[in-house]
Symmetry: C2
Subunit: 441 residues, 2 copies
Amino acid sequence: MLTHMLAHSIPDLLPAKNGEEPTIQFLLEVVEILTNYVRKTFDRSTKVLDFHHPHQLLEGMEGFNLELSDQPESLEQILVDCRDTLKFTYEIAPVFVLMEQLTLKKMREIIGWTNGDGDGLFSPGGAISNMYSVMVARYKYFPEVKTKGMSAAPRLVLFTSEHSHYSIKKAGAVLGFGKENGYVPLFVNATAGTTVYGAFDPINDIADICEKYNLWLHVDGAWGGGLLMSRKHRHKLSGIERANSVTWNPHKMMGVPLQCSAILVREKGILQGCNSMCAGYLFQPDKQYDVTYDTGDKAIQCGRHVDIFKFWLMWKAKGTIGFEQHIDRCLELSEYLYNKIKNREGYEMVFEGQPQHTNVCFWYIPPSLRVMPHGDKRREKLHMVAPKIKAMMMECGTTMVGYQPQGDKVNFFRMVVSNHAVTKSDIDFLIDEIERLGHDL
Amino acid sequence: MLTHMLAHSIPDLLPAKNGEEPTIQFLLEVVEILTNYVRKTFDRSTKVLDFHHPHQLLEGMEGFNLELSDQPESLEQILVDCRDTLKFTYEIAPVFVLMEQLTLKKMREIIGWTNGDGDGLFSPGGAISNMYSVMVARYKYFPEVKTKGMSAAPRLVLFTSEHSHYSIKKAGAVLGFGKENGYVPLFVNATAGTTVYGAFDPINDIADICEKYNLWLHVDGAWGGGLLMSRKHRHKLSGIERANSVTWNPHKMMGVPLQCSAILVREKGILQGCNSMCAGYLFQPDKQYDVTYDTGDKAIQCGRHVDIFKFWLMWKAKGTIGFEQHIDRCLELSEYLYNKIKNREGYEMVFEGQPQHTNVCFWYIPPSLRVMPHGDKRREKLHMVAPKIKAMMMECGTTMVGYQPQGDKVNFFRMVVSNHAVTKSDIDFLIDEIERLGHDL
């Protein structure tokens, strides 16, 4: 539900590059797998489940390989993966629990934590992932809050930058933190890819301070975490391996359909400690399989939507290398846009220098404003330009691009590219369209 | 991921009663609508969106009627609804926002709040909905906690019953409440349909106390809320209209696929007050349409998964009357099970009297235990029976049924029916299977 450019995007599950038919053909084969599955559910002579222990699944029984690799699999193999997955979905869905476990470990390895050790969960969005990070930090330093409430701790406060996502502030309000002077610092959020500018906080510098004062360091990489997949761009998150927790949303820059967000924590077992209520009537310890795989009590949710499958399947289909290409391509397209407009008549960039992420923030100045002296009157008029152009774009149905003010800066366009099917001519079209609609304002 | 009976269940979207082919046929037509939509996304000559104002959609433009009614629509009309919905999905997805608005209002009417007025949201599960209720209660009585933290309020405590869902306790831990004597009561949770027994707390009696002491009354109807759809069974929730907030999960008793949970609040606008952070860079007030429809800042999430569409479409397809039939049928099947085993040799019921919900809780006593005197040894043995039978069921793949201990009661089976495609012979099969597998234990 965010205001990104939606120009002709489709969920980017497929490696098919040559147009629509391979995509449609593949989708129809998936549909056939599913309809066969539905047919089977009508047949009471078939088994309800084909039980296997989690460790058997992990060991690749019946040739089902859950591991993620660098290279993409063939579409044929992806269909096999779909069929295999359906075989093992029952009760607490062990196959999805294992997919989560393997994928979270892979993400922690990419962050740079030793052996990919640590903890993690998929949560319903970056705001909730950020909230988990604050909860875990509070539990780490003041575990007694879990049973005694906030009054068992000193008055605590969180640190975050003005440009950080509002969910950090919201987590503070929800969890009962205050925002007053004199409170005790607990937690610092560094943003890797701010919402508006796509800026990366200097993680190493912040980590130095956190180490010195013994504070929890969280990196909100909801938007910028995807750059970790790129050898070219991951240096922008240097120091992330020093964080205590990381939010990373595959449903943003990596093109996974909403919702798919991960909270990753460096300390093993801490989510369980923080959130478990040990409800024996839901998490039975005397099951016939190894219940250490159960993740239910780590979450603040009870039942959880299966967000992992689409991500896992996409990873299988693209390979690690495919995500890297995806990221590099999106950043290249943004660079193309930036280079096209940075010195073009009628454009002003909102911040200096080349964007760090795909966010290109700019004002379009219609000819009537180009001759106006700078001052309040021009500011007022400029503030109206982006909303007017956007409204016309929507009425025409030709394209869409987000805008917003930021601090004392009046409304500007923020163009982001997260779909690598965008082409340079789409970017050209966007600029032509802004000029066509905005020329006479 | 809950341990319910999964015997041959399919998501119950369709009114088709005569077997598999109408279902498959309908699904294939939906697939065709979707593949045509995907094809269109490849075609850069088509419009990105076909803009209409929210109020135009509400007024039923182009014949698209969002209202929910008592009677089911035809499958033909459901296909039309799917096509219409796809026309209006762009940016913050106004069509889904409107579906949410209409559906939440309908749910509030069914609860019995005047004119269906109030507030509400779909959230990622009942645990989060329950957490919202505590947050809103805290905001109502101590709004300064939002900015100053829990230290701005006295030490607060929540009341809930021992059999209530653990998410109430979890919400207390997350939000910084304590569980000590001497704290000030703020909030009372009454459960409509407990997880294990399916028991309904006496809402009117609890409401009397809440009114007397000026406490927030929440009804956790995650599991039992569905009974509101039934003229025969809704009396079990008498007094629910006196609650300040209600959790109601269509993804449980009403058969909507996970996740689909609603938090409903009697006071209008309070979710916005409680949770808004007014992030101008995301929720632009100067859009060309009426931004009072924007729900983003009411939630603790930022982006939200679209949970409403499947529920809305199911309501269209079944009608209010279809949900009533669904609920009545499930309770009838449970009654059948209860009547079958209550006096049968080898069975003991866990609680006295007829179940209020579909939860039938019972021990199966294998012949070897029937002759043992009551005492610790028998208890120990009986505790092992349900897990052993369940393990054998899973190994055989014939059926599954949940079990758990509760308080000082050893492991017992809990059979629930939420799928109205279950038949009496499925219930017979379950009993036969328990006896076949458990006879020699």
